[in-house]
């Protein structure tokens, strides 16, 4: 997908007490072409997937994932992190071609 669609990110709370568990849900538009399919001419459609995902909170990685072609198109990911400090919640998806899609939210920890 040439146009990098804006990812949809939702935190279950924007403000948390220290030690609270925050749930993140994120969806990004991506074809996730498996490399298994063939076009009408019988040529294999080359693989193009997001192979890496990472989330940092206030600069520290809290969660990461590697995807294989078995992850559905428009990959959805849901995970949790422990609120320790306020700061940006940065989600990064890395494509096979090296391009990245970045989404950002903020969390306030009191």
């Amino acid at each position: 997908m040439a146009t990098a669609a804006k990812p949809r990110i939702k935190l279950d709370k924007k403000e948390a007490r220290k030690g609270d568990i925050v749930e993140v849900k994120a969806l990004v538009a991506h074809i996730m072409e498996t490399g298994q399919r063939k076009d009408a001419q019988g040529n294999t459609i080359p693989r193009k997937i997001i192979n890496k995902f990472a989330c940092t909170v206030a600069g520290k990685q809290v969660f990461a994932a590697s995807f294989e072609p078995a992850v559905s198109a428009n990959p959805y990911i849901q995970f949790k992190f422990k609120a320790t400090e306020s700061g940006p919640v940065v989600l990064t998806w890395t494509d096979d071609d090296g391009s990245t899609i970045v989404g950002e939210e903020t969390i306030a920890v009191t």
Partner: protein, 148 residues
């Protein structure tokens, strides 16, 4: 009544089909066992502590919601570092790998996966002390998800 009833015949053939499917499974075997071996370094993973939440039957294999959670206090002293998820009925066994840290708070993640056919999903979790725990679950797929 003479002979088996229609219902019995149907039940019997369904059973035979199930056995036949199981019998065929090794022919479709993919690299899932190798991936697990590479992940654990040949160590034996014990059953338990890992929970795989998947539907029993997936009508559409293109997008099957999957939740993996691992019982762990997620402290610096004891936490889950990685969770490997593989399926034994897809062209490639690998599905997704999650990386956790004590900052994750809870070792739980959800994503949506593609399943080409009815298969076993296996999740292996690596703990920070080097031990491995696992869980597996079979999902029956009505329509495969690999565009075939």
């Amino acid at each position: 009544m003479n002979g088996p009833s229609r219902r019995q015949v149907l039940a019997g053939s369904a059973g035979a089909l199930a056995i036949a499917t199981l019998g065929v499974a090794p022919a479709h075997a993919n690299n899932a066992p190798d991936l697990i071996k590479a992940f654990t370094g040949g160590k034996q993973a014990t059953e338990g502590k890992v929970k795989l939440d998947l539907p029993e039957i997936a009508e559409n294999g293109n997008t099957v919601p999957m939740t993996v959670s691992v019982e762990s206090p997620m402290t610096d002293a004891s936490h889950v570092t990685d969770v490997l998820v593989v399926g034994d009925g897809n062209p490639n066994g690998g599905m997704v790998t999650f990386q956790f840290s004590p900052l994750s708070g809870v070792a739980e993640a959800n994503t949506r996966i593609r399943l080409a056919a009815t298969q076993n999903i296996i999740a292996v979790a690596k703990m920070n002390d080097g031990s491995f725990v696992m869980a597996s679950k079979q999902v029956k797929v009505t329509i495969g998800g690999c565009g075939g």
